[in-house]
Symmetry: C2
Subunit: 391 residues, 2 copies
């Protein structure tokens, strides 16, 4: 699906349209990225003939005009290469690292994701929760965010947040301290790295987890950009926890996205005398959010399982029957130990496949719930361990 031409066209479009532009998402339902780009550049002489449907005609034509004004934003091949040399990678729908649960966003699905870090975005989000909340968090809120994230991370749950001060930073720090997966979805570009005061935290996330953004690497975050970004935090997760939030906090916007995406919304209570718990109490009282006081409560509400679209509710064993695995995957799985860990190169040699194949198979097996990562490699997951979590 993702030919080089299509990849280049998607990247180009991501510099023209605003993040989450539903007009572009709708256009990409019936057209390739190259076709849409051709409409904008006018490179296709029959460009207008590609438009179908009267109402789409108008909406799309206007959008194409807007995008055309920004053609100068498309970076040169050299600039793209420089970003990639600086440690950024591009992940697109259909790529192995693409988290398929983002497809739940429909027409507002990100065009591309810029990713930086040693973690594997898709695997980190397979079993994950979002932990979000106030930037101006209290000591209580930060303590709770760190504790909750650390215990969840210890149990193999990825912690997704927005890289902001306060609750977000506490969530990332807790997951890092527990040696777990964490994913920071930034509202600005990854090279811009907002907020600057969290640079050290971002470096730690890069070394152990993943930094993600749908925005061009150099772009500065905008106020509406934070709200648009929140849909990605909600969509990546299997459930969203608000630790502290004032009334009308941005965290409540994330909760609304989670609710719309059918992700369980959870909230941590706090003193009724604290304005930073008022939003949490409102979520519980008026919007049916579940009150959680510990990681066990969270695991009771979040159905963990395989990543994205292939999931269909709770289950009691690996999602993919072992019988349905391809021969290479079966060979690889045979060489993943139940106790201890084995590195991918060693697994590849023993399974008689090349390293790329081994890595592809391991990723697929992890998504299927057969294997999990451990320090220095992989180990087989005990049968039923996923379904054994309370729900």
């Amino acid at each position: 699906m993702n030919s080089d031409g299509e990849r280049r066209a998607r990247v180009a479009l991501s510099f023209l349209a605003k993040p989450g532009d539903p007009v572009l998402g709708a256009a990409l339902r019936t057209r390739t990225a190259s076709e849409v780009l051709a409409l904008v550049t006018g490179a296709d002489a029959d460009g207008d003939a590609l438009l179908v449907g009267e109402s789409e005609d108008v909406v799309l034509s206007r959008a194409v005009e807007r995008w055309r004004d920004r053609l100068g934003e498309i970076p040169s091949t050299a600039r793209l290469a420089a970003w990639q040399d600086s440690g950024l990678r591009l992940v697109m729908p259909g790529d192995p690292e693409w988290p398929t649960q983002l497809d739940d966003l429909g027409d507002t699905r990100p065009l591309v994701l810029w990713v930086r870090g040693t973690g594997h975005l898709r695997l980190a989000c397979v079993n994950s929760v979002a932990i979000v909340g106030a930037r101006a968090a209290t000591g209580y809120g930060q303590h709770v965010a760190i504790e909750l994230a650390a215990v969840l991370a210890e149990k193999g749950v990825g912690v997704i947040s927005g890289g902001a001060y306060g609750i977000d930073a506490g969530a990332h720090r807790g997951a890092l301290a527990a040696g777990g997966d964490t994913v920071a979805v930034l509202a600005g570009g990854l090279s811009f790295g907002y907020p600057q005061g969290n640079r050290a935290l971002f470096a730690a996330i890069e070394a152990q987890g993943v930094l993600v953004s749908e925005c061009p690497p150099d772009s500065r975050p905008t106020r509406p950009g934070f709200l648009v970004r929140n849909r990605i935090i909600a969509a990546l997760s299997r459930g969203l926890i608000v630790v502290e939030a004032a009334l009308r906090s941005g965290a409540l916007n994330s909760a609304r996205h989670a609710r719309e995406l059918c992700r369980p919304v959870m909230a941590v209570p706090g003193p009724i005398t604290s304005e930073y718990s008022a939003g949490c109490h409102e979520l519980i009282r008026d919007y049916g959010a579940m009150l959680v006081t510990c990681a066990a409560d969270v695991l009771g509400h979040v159905v963990l399982g395989t990543g994205g679209a292939e999931t269909a509710g709770p289950r009691s064993g690996p999602a993919t029957a072992r019988d349905s695995l391809d021969p290479a995957a079966v060979a690889v799985l045979e060489e993943v130990p139940v106790r201890g860990c084995r590195g991918p190169a060693s697994i590849a040699v023993r399974a008689g496949v090349d390293l790329d194949t081994a890595l592809r198979c391991l990723g697929m097996l992890a998504v299927g719930g057969f294997v999990e990562r451990c320090e220095g490699g992989w180990r087989a997951r005990r049968s039923g361990s996923v379904g054994g979590l309370p729900h």
Copy 2:
């Protein structure tokens, strides 16, 4: 219904059976108190012939044996008179001061209530909430109990609690500070006055509200007695709020009673790091208790209206049609001002009735939602003001 003989028999039985004894309650469904007492004293030669039904035979006969062992506990007329001289009054089912919502307790309905204080038990409970919680409350919990009780009392809601240290004391103090009604339901006798450290609080409640107990005045509270007492707190109220409670706290027992009696159960959240909020969080998370953060939340859950059995859910005006009032009540109602207040003696003179009749009518009109007390007297309630509260 309450002839002198029946009253004396009820009082005697209340010294023989334990509070809330369902065997006695069941026996009183088909027999008068005098008849049951006759079974115990053997005064009725045909005593055994009064027993009906084989299974009741056995259960009641055994209970009668137990009660017979305690015949020596029945106080002399002089002792009863001394208690009444000390400011205690006896209130029984059918009396004007009897809160008819206690009838919801069925066979565990109290036989009699000992009451002390200037308040009117039935009127204080017409629109009331119970506020209960941990004895070893935190500063946060006490602050919340006082605030919540004060604001509710200011809005004319009676505050019912158990007279214990901690949350209970805070609830009574808040209501007193706001000049409102408060009812302390003690687990021991009113003359015993447990806990002793709350003696000054009890004196303040006596001066402005009501102290209540179903136990003989001199009786010492027992551990099971606290749990049995909790049913009265729940039954008197239109809703119960737990402000702070550790797991396995007695306040959770009160919440269970409230749930069984179909009274809304509410809980105040607190820090998840506080063991004294753990019971509240459990109520919200696992038992469907409603999270409340302020008096407005409470009023949104509690349907205020007329007292006891004559209530049938929410309503938009006084429960009793004005047409159904007796002529004396109509005459009294005519003389209760809509603005300002008028004392009962003045109302009696203007209405052309004696003071006792005026007081009886005012009580009835208050229960019917037509009038309400104010400083120094009574005023007419604006039509629809009760139903105008959010619910």
